[in-house]
């Protein structure tokens, strides 16, 4: 089973709202990711968590705040977003147990469609 589950599938929020995107995997993967994808473009990495610690932040604005409560869950908290933040947000995970993870597959969820109005 290579399932990454994301909720909600669709979210519409105003620029002053606070909302969260949620992601869950039960594959025992120790690396989890958030990507942002605009229409017909490749995904862009936002954050990487490794062993529940933030290991990469790709200079993402602070209005996006990730959280990894445990090894199975990953959240993305949203606050004061702009209309240009409207996109498909993809969660992903990979096995990535040290020391060698270079060939491991990164598995994606179905994504959360975010519209900021």
């Amino acid at each position: 089973d290579t399932e990454v589950t994301q909720t909600p599938k669709h979210l519409v929020m105003g620029m002053t709202n606070k909302k969260s995107l949620k992601c869950e995997q039960h594959m025992g993967h120790r690396a989890m990711y958030w990507y942002k994808q605009k229409a017909k473009k490749p995904p862009e990495l936002m954050f990487v968590y490794s062993y529940e610690k933030l290991s990469i932040n790709e200079s993402v604005p602070s209005r996006f705040s990730p959280e990894c409560p445990n090894s199975s869950l990953l959240n993305l908290h949203l606050h004061a977003l702009q209309p240009e933040d409207s996109a498909l947000y993809l969660c992903a995970s990979s096995h990535d147990r040290l020391p060698d993870y270079s060939g491991n597959t990164i598995y994606f969820g179905e994504g959360s469609w975010l519209t900021v109005v």
Binding site: T2, Q6, A31, Y33, K40, K41, P42, P43, L45, V48, S50, S55, I56, L88, L90, A92, S94, D96, Y101, S102, G103, N104, T105, I106, Y107, F108, G109, E110, G111, W113
Partner: protein
């Protein structure tokens, strides 16, 4: 820096004909290459990967890819295309130079299979 290139924005194929979606790569060290497919309004699905070993890699839904070191290519192929194969295809390389592997994607190729 690692990179992949997909030279075609769109590939059009008639159903039943063979299909090829092209990908070339530029990496330092061993290449770890992946193909993903994205159906409309869906997430990315893993198709196949090359790590080491046989140059011909078989994956999901009848797809295969051929790793060619001399041409630095990793083209995706299928002997007989289906209308349901119509989707956006991404080639990617895993970049471990940052210490935590990330995927570097090509721009994507839209495959259109007509009946």
């Amino acid at each position: 820096a690692q990179s992949v290139a997909q030279p075609e924005d769109q590939v059009n194929v008639a159903e039943g004909n063979p299909l090829t979606v092209k990908c070339t790569y530029s990496v330092s060290g061993n290449p770890y290459l992946f193909w993903y497919v994205q159906y409309p309004n869906r997430g990315l699905q893993f198709l196949l990967k090359y790590i080491t070993g046989d140059n011909l890699v078989k994956g999901s839904y009848g797809f295969e890819a051929e790793f060619n070191k001399s041409q630095t290519s990793f083209h995706l192929k299928k002997p007989s295309a289906l209308v349901s194969d119509s989707a956006l295809y991404f080639c990617a390389v895993r970049d471990i130079s940052l210490g935590q592997g990330n995927l570097i994607f090509g721009k994507g190729t839209k495959l259109s299979v007509k009946p």
